[in-house]
Amino acid sequence: MLPLATLRVAGHPVSLGGAALLGVGVGYVAGMFGVGGGFLLTPLLSVVFRIPLEIAVGTGLCQMVGTSVTALLRHQRVRQGEVRFDLVMLAGCLVGVDGGARVLTALARAGSVRVGGHPVAAVRLTVEVGYVVLLLAAAAVFWREGAGPYEALDYVRVAPLARLRLPPFVDLPAVPLRRVSATAIAYTGLALGFMSGLLGIGGGVALMPVLIYGFGFPIRQAAGTGIVALVATAAVGTVEHALRGHVHLGLAMVLLVGATVSAQLGALATHRLPARTLRRAFALLLLGTVGAIAWDLGRHLG
């Protein structure tokens, strides 16, 4: 049997083949469901390879730079989405990702806290509980969408964020929406950026429900919105984490190579499945990830 090459990540041996396989799996799922896959990659890096969470977050964001650049260039061809929304959201995203990276670093330095008499790293507790809450909320949204034809939802959307009367206002002609609060959009960016810096996600999994239910975007426009902000957030998050020593470039590239190739195959598989089945399958995938994180947290809590 051939000896498998390993990478050493923060003192933990990571099999090169295992990392490539993880990249392929996450990329396939990302291509299939049209998401970045960060919500899957970061927890799995920690659960499967026992990599410290701050390194998993930084490395996940680094590989996201590659996937988001490809998505941005493809987006330039298709020209879907509302770029104005991205530009207004951008400032909030950049401030948020900086805040998230700072909080993650502080948590990593904070050491352990006691939960029910068991010591658990503060960074693990915060990040894994954050993931559980976020993914459960997203799973509920996608499961509900899978219950009926998507088009019917266009008529029942309430869009509370689009109705906020907080000045200044901006028109979004591509959606089309008039006089939407720029403050609400900027704070949406701030929240997404913070989650990116803290949890290592691109934000697509959280942004889509916010755009559709919060702002009343049609699905086609929602899918193309946020890519410019995603590239900027991933780039700034990567630099922030790399300067703090939280990025393993070799591991990020192994993950990225597998992910970019398999994402194309995942996207081809999408055409063969009905949209409702896809949304339900995505909700189940989110629940599976929640289960893996909960198991990991339970293991650390003894």
């Binding site: 996937t67 490809t70 630099v239 590239m253 194309q264």
Partner: protein, 48 residues
């Protein structure tokens, strides 16, 4: 290696890979579309 240079590499290497992959798969998709067109029925001539 200085931290700023490492941070720059962490940004540049995956970004370049992303651009290269876009070109490669864009070429692949175009070729597939061309082959599909060639294999399909000829366009309808509405003039007759």
């Amino acid at each position: 290696m200085p931290a700023w240079l490492y941070a720059l590499l962490c940004l540049a290497v995956p970004a370049v890979w992303g651009v290269v992959m876009f070109w490669v798969f864009d070429l692949w998709h175009r070729r597939r579309r061309r082959e599909d067109l060639r294999a399909g029925p000829p366009p309808i001539d509405y003039s007759i």
